[in-house]
Amino acid sequence: MMTETAGRRSRLEAVFGEIGAAHIALLAALLVYPVIASDFFLTQIGAYSLIFGMIALSLMMLAGYGGMISLAQISVAGLAAYTIAILGENNSGVLGFGWPWWILVPFAVAVGGIASALIGAVSARTDGIYTIMITLAIATAVFYFAQQNYTLFNGFPGFTGVRAPEFWGVRWRDPAPFYYLCLAVAVLAYGAVLYGSRSTFGLALQAIRDNPRRMRALGFHVTAHKIAAFFYAGIIAGLAGVLLVWLNGRISPGTIGVGAATNVLIIAVIGGMRHPIGPFLGALIVVLMQTFAIDIVGAERFNTLIGLVFLVIVFVSPDGLLGLWSRFKPHFAQESLRSGASAPLN
């Protein structure tokens, strides 16, 4: 991609080449989306897909690069959301310390990261299906705990009346600003995962996924790498959790139930776990189905539909829709390999 001619133009081209034309087109489309979309499409489809895409992205990052399928990512997001409700403002009349947003948000995200790292520490010594079992047990335990405990989590009803703050003269809870906020955070998370996958840490993580014994023999601290991956994934899930509680205005145990935990997995599997764009694609499809499947199968049987779609995807294409795509376009599947090879050795 590097051109011989010097000057700003070639540098701009280089930057564009690095980012990729597809990314720029996609970003442009997402940026002009509010112009054509109604408020409903902006928040309930746009922002919702971006938020669930981020939670699924945190799973994709663990599963795709680290080989650890964690079903507890929704719990991490939920804990961050609960932190916002407990330490910020809510109108449930329980707790609600009213911290300002600029302390609250970093704190909630940190809670997500630390919670995720702890989950990682518990499950990192296991792999594959064992990780699924343990994280599912953790997710279920968190759900039951939030439901039973009234002193901290306000039990079954949870917290209501949580609002996105106003700062820099913008009411962030309005549809368009909130959409752009979600988009900005999602782009950041997406870029971070994409960049991180080519970093030394990301490459080490992928190597650990492929052969932990060899990496251990080479002197890498396998468990520490896994826990660190969980921490980063927790940061992303925590950010998504903050946005989720702002979007819904409420957080209750139902949001972090087992159904929600498997939903995140479904999103990631339908989209595909080979590339960070997969989770967002999956989230968009699932959210669209959630919204419009009512016309096809009725509101009650939605879970059957999504479950069947999930089963078909698992049977037909284990790599999700991205996997289907790569069958037609082998170039796409090779992308991560090529970028890995062209990264400088250090």
């Binding site: 499950s123 047990a137 953790i138 279920t140 705990f145 059957t304």
Partner: protein
């Protein structure tokens, strides 16, 4: 025990215990303490610390009988896992489906035992079908199998909700199982000198007895029969078993049928003791997961130990720290994973 095994020189020769003897003593003391706690009439200070003897003994009894139920569910789960490396996350759905089928059959025929049999047989057939039509196609791909079971559990939960709605059902037990029995455990003396005994529902004791019988039966089947021998060989080395001329697929099908059947059986038995409602599938899936994580995956003995620990933790937690009970279960799981990642009876992987 031979002299060579003894650790000499620890206490300068005086009362040099072997490690084994020391542990034996510890267990003996623990058993004596438990026996005293159960049978003696408590002094006032102990009643003050542990709420009341009645609460304590009931929570222990509830914990042990719940453990029986958990064992019934988890033994099938761990059996299937041990042999096929298949984490059946639809196991909770099998439990709930068994409970619903047992309810329908016992309500229509009027025979509770018919319901129990129907729960076992119907689920064994469904398990067989799952193994033959679904899991055999994606054999050796653990992750895909697990994902498929998640998909199945979602669809199954939704279809069961459609079929039986959100109503809570109670499977009625026959009269000969109803009522309470007076246990020879004295909680206190009345002022006139009469002893107050603990009454406990007979049916719950039956559940415990059934669980023990099933556990012994499974153990005998695994250790004393030809099929059991094949299953154990399959757990150790699947490829080698296949190479020795055993039809591995038939063994798999049998194990899956037994595992699913036990889940259905537990569904009817549990649905009679507690209740049948949507959401129970998740509860028993969690119980199975934690029990086999703690007890060790693939081990029947481990499932029994795990079930006992989790059942007791849950019920004691319910009495002594309500709303934090689940944390106790969770702590047990985390501590086990920290000390023995493979579970108490699990083998190193």
């Amino acid at each position: 025990m031979s002299v060579l095994d003894q650790r000499v020189g620890e206490g300068a020769g005086v009362g040099a215990f072997s490690r084994r003897q020391a542990w034996g003593l510890v267990w003996l003391l623990a058993a004596a303490l438990l026996a005293w706690l159960t049978f003696a009439v408590w002094p006032a200070w102990l009643n003050a610390v542990l709420i009341s003897k009645k609460a304590f003994v009931s929570s222990i009894l509830n914990g042990v009988t719940l453990a029986g139920l958990y064992f019934l569910v988890a033994s099938g789960f761990t059996l299937v896992f041990g042999l096929m490396r298949n984490v059946n996350l639809a196991h909770g759905s099998l439990y709930l489906l068994g409970a619903y089928i047992g309810y329908e059959v016992s309500a229509r025929t009027g025979y509770w035992l018919a319901g129990v049999a129907a729960g076992f047989i119907a689920l064994a057939i469904i398990g067989l079908a799952m193994q033959v039509f679904v899991f055999r196609r994606i054999e050796g791909d653990d992750l895909r199998q697990t994902l498929v079971t998640i998909g199945i559990s979602i669809v199954a939960a939704d279809l069961m909700l459609w079929m039986w709605t959100g109503t809570t059902y109670q499977i009625t037990t026959p009269e000969w199982l109803d009522g309470a029995v007076k246990l020879p455990i004295i909680t206190a003396y009345r002022s006139n000198g009469d002893a107050v005994f603990i009454n406990y529902p007979f049916y719950r004791l039956v559940v415990l007895g059934v669980a023990i019988a099933v556990g012994v039966g499974l153990w005998l089947m695994l250790n004393r029969t030809r099929v059991g021998m094949m299953i154990r060989a399959g757990v150790d080395d699947r490829a080698m078993l296949s190479a020795s001329g055993v039809n591995v697929h038939a063994v798999f099908a049998i194990v899956f049928a037994i595992g699913a059947g036990l889940a259905g059986f537990a569904g009817v038995v549990g649905g009679s003791a507690l209740s049948v409602a949507p959401g129970e599938d998740v509860r028993y899936l969690l119980a199975s997961l934690v029990v086999v994580i703690v007890g060790g995956m693939g081990s029947i003995t481990g499932a029994a130990i795990g079930a006992l620990l989790i059942g007791l933790a849950e019920q004691i937690g319910l009495v002594y720290f309500p709303t934090y009970g689940i944390v106790l279960t969770f702590v047990i799981m985390v501590v086990t994973l920290a000390i023995r990642p493979q579970g108490i009876m699990g083998r190193a992987r």
